[in-house]
């Protein structure tokens, strides 16, 4: 057992940190908040570094790295609130393609993703209140040479900034894992409507499928048999968001530590007051704990460990319950400045809040953990 990151991983992280700083990624997140289009240029930058190729298998021109490696990169991305669909494309899209795709589908998509020519996202929610993947209802009716998709999806991350969307639909009736089918849908073919999001670094889209006909070869995997891979993809995406949140939390701890050392009141740095100092120590501890859970979850997913699903839920639960507090504390430590849009704290806080309930509320994760212990 060895919980160290190796030299190559360390090197990759350092390079990524420098690169994100050099390309002023956080500044671009702010531009995105102001409504500017940033994804195309940013994606070109990421492709320069081969980041979209990271987890694509070697035989499809990718780098063949694992989820853990991706998580380490995303931790760096989280420090600068990377406003691009990298988790969506790699942790979710490329994963389902690799798991369920036919040779033709893989050949069509994976090298294009690796080359930076194609971005992916996913359309899962319909009401935004339901429990996934169990409650997926969007209808996919078989036609002579394909399927007819009918219904509405909401909360599609970067829906208007990607090329292809993995759409979860139901073939047949009922609820539950059986009967869920996944389709690859060209984003341009769907009627879309942008949504204003709490975390404006990450846009979302509402998609209207009004009897949209897709070809047979849009189906990923077998008809009605996509549920379990969908769950795994959701788990991978969840770990990816945890990694970004952990990176953001480290940045929040740094900002609070720097401010605590510089800002003076009552003739001394405020970080000398234990009320502030101890709060920052607590922030650091929560971040460390979340990082441990996240790395383990990534490792467990990659190695198909029996406790992988639980590990994901534990990482997500902890990030949701404890790291949102870290961001709130950072805002508080900065006093009035903390409440201004100028201070970066709100960017991270809003992102963490938005993800807190995304693909599983804390309560749902608690229940999944309890189930895994056969309670």
């Amino acid at each position: 057992m060895d919980f160290r990151i190796n030299d190559e991983q360390r090197q990759m992280r350092e390079t990524a940190r420098e690169f994100f700083e050099d390309r002023e990624v956080l500044e671009r997140a702010r531009e995105r908040i102001d409504g500017e289009a940033v994804v195309d240029d940013l994606w070109a930058d990421l492709s320069e570094m081969d980041y979209p190729a990271l987890t694509i298998p070697l035989e499809y021109n990718g780098l063949g790295d694992d989820v853990l490696y991706l998580s380490l990169l995303l931790e760096e991305a989280g420090r600068v609130a990377l406003p691009a669909p990298l988790p969506e494309t790699l942790a979710f899209g490329a994963f389902v393609l690799d798991e369920l795709g036919t040779d033709d589908q893989k050949e069509e998509f994976l090298p294009a993703i690796a080359d930076g020519d194609r971005r992916l996202s996913f359309a899962l929610y319909e009401s935004g209140q339901e429990s996934l993947p169990r409650d997926i209802q969007l209808a996919a009716a078989p036609t002579d040479d394909g399927y007819r998709l009918d219904g509405t999806k909401t909360l599609v991350p970067f829906g208007e900034q990607v090329d292809t969307i993995v759409v979860a639909a139901r073939t047949g009736s009922g609820t539950g894992m059986e009967g869920i089918s996944l389709f690859l849908v060209d984003a341009e073919r769907v009627d879309s409507e942008p949504q204003d999001t709490l975390d404006r670094t990450r846009p979302a889209t509402k998609l209207h499928f009004d009897d949209l006909i897709v070809d047979e070869d849009a189906l990923l995997g077998t008809e009605g048999g996509g549920g379990s891979v969908l769950q795994k993809a959701m788990d991978r995406y969840t770990v990816a968001t945890c990694a970004m949140t952990v990176g953001a939390a480290s940045r929040a701890v740094e900002m609070s530590s720097e401010y605590g050392s510089q800002r003076e009141q009552f003739d001394k740095p405020i970080g000398q007051f234990q009320a502030v100092k101890h709060r920052i120590a607590d922030m650091w501890m929560a971040t460390q704990a979340a990082r441990s859970l996240t790395y383990y979850a990534a490792w467990a997913l990659e190695n198909d460990e029996p406790d992988a699903a639980r590990a994901v839920s534990e990482a997500k639960l902890f990030c949701s319950e404890q790291l949102t507090q870290v961001f709130a504390d950072d805002i508080h430590n900065h006093g009035g400045m903390g409440f201004t849009s100028e201070h970066d704290g709100h960017i991270y806080f809003k992102q963490a809040k938005a993800w807190e309930t995304f693909l599983g509320t804390p309560t749902e994760h608690l229940d999944r953990i309890a189930d895994s212990h056969e309670l």
């Binding site: 057992m1 160290r4 101890h278 501890m285 859970l293 639960l317 309890a370 212990h373």
Partner: protein
């Protein structure tokens, strides 16, 4: 990064498991706890256990072979902690000697001191206590004042220590004294190894909130200490004391907390409320899940610290997190346990748990004071890890 254990490590685990199965006291695994009612019997019992451990070669696990240890790697120590927690093995009565005094002597002691003291620490023939806190020197330990004054070829000790665990049964004390009052407080401290078998040393047991009396006030009235029992340099004892506390911080309670969680799960399966097992009540399930998450977080962070320590060779300030974080977990867990008892939570020794859960509930509140309060630990993190300004 890899969470698998190697074959060698698994072999080590199996060997230890087998040894524990054969050597744990009769009835232990069925839940019998001999000697818990009578303090003297309890000490006797734990001394026996110490000897059993030593005969099995497990007592000085992390000690080098040249001092009779097993030279175990940090990971083997982790496995040892996991396995002994799993069977709730008896406490190691000479932990102060084995974990703290021994390693400090190996690092800073003279050859004579090593030869004289180390073997009897392992065998349990000599029990140790740690004379640190004083009535007016708690978190501000360096302001200690128990004086050691030169008197011919010996030193005379005068003053008082407090919260000294096992002082009433200890043979030797690792004692912090004041030898120079003229300079700054961190200077002028000297560490002596002091023979406790002197009439001029009196111990008074302290009645703890658990109803136990493990720790004591210790009064020194012209007691004697000798030159050859000084550890490190005279007046430079603060560094010696800090060496010791670095070793102290590399321990973790997380495995025994994990074991306690497992036993509570069993309890919840076996006990009912409103006609169904506690484990089927939604709030119980969720609370167990939340607690398990915290335990995992503490455990995995401990692994990360250990991995880092394998690289650097010394425990870092991360050990402070281990203490604070896992202590919070333990308090949450024990408070949850009390709520499982329903109104019977109001009972002590007449409760369904015979009072053991009361000790379990109260102990973590003491642990977060002993060896550096959570406030001291947070200062360590803030100053050494995060670079925040030091307290005035």
């Amino acid at each position: 990064m890899d969470f698998e254990y190697t074959e060698d490590q698994e072999r080590f685990r199996q060997e230890l498991r087998e040894w524990l199965r054969e050597n744990l006291p009769d009835g232990w695994q069925a839940g019998e706890r001999p000697g818990t009612d009578d303090p003297e019997e309890s000490v006797e019992f734990l001394l026996d256990w110490q000897q059993t451990l030593n005969e099995g070669g497990w007592a000085g696990l992390h000690w080098p072979e040249e001092y009779g240890g097993a030279d175990a790697s940090l990971l083997e120590q982790v496995i040892y902690n996991q396995e002994t927690a799993r069977v709730d093995a008896p406490a190691r009565i000479n932990a102060v000697g084995i974990d703290f005094v021994g390693p400090t002597l190996m690092e800073l002691g003279t050859e004579e001191q090593k030869e004289r003291f180390l073997p009897k620490i392992l065998s349990g023939e000599e029990l140790w206590c740690q004379g640190y806190s004083e009535p007016d020197a708690g978190s501000d330990l360096a302001s200690l004042s128990l004086s050691a004054e030169r008197n011919g070829d010996e030193f005379l000790l005068n003053g008082q220590k407090v919260w000294t665990s096992y002082a009433h049964v200890a043979d030797w004390c690792f004692l912090l004294t004041r030898t120079d009052e003229s300079g700054p407080k961190h200077h002028g401290i000297t560490v002596f190894l002091v023979d406790m078998d002197q009439e001029d040393i009196q111990t008074e047991p302290i009645h703890q909130i658990t109803d136990e009396t493990d720790f004591n006030e210790v009064f020194f009235d012209d007691a004697v200490a000798r030159d050859e029992h000084i550890v490190g340099e005279i007046d430079e004892g603060w560094e010696v004391a800090m060496t010791l506390s670095a070793f102290e911080h590399s321990m973790s309670d997380v495995f025994s907390i994990e074991q306690r969680w497992r036993s509570l799960v069993e309890f919840c399966r076996e006990h009912e409320r409103d006609g169904k097992p506690l484990a089927e009540h939604t709030h119980v399930r969720r609370e167990l899940a939340r607690l398990h998450t915290r335990i995992q977080a503490g455990k995995l962070t401990h692994y990360r610290n250990v991995s880092k320590q394998m690289e650097t060779g010394v425990p870092g300030p991360e050990g402070s997190m281990d203490k604070v974080f896992n202590n919070q977990t333990e308090k949450k867990l024990e408070n949850f346990a009390r709520r499982l008892l329903g109104a019977n939570n109001a009972l002590w020794t007449d409760g369904p748990d015979d009072g053991q859960w009361v000790t379990d509930l109260l102990m973590p509140y003491g642990k977060m004071i002993a060896g550096g309060t959570k406030d001291v630990q947070r200062n360590i993190i803030a100053e050494r890890v995060l670079g925040l300004p030091k307290d005035d």
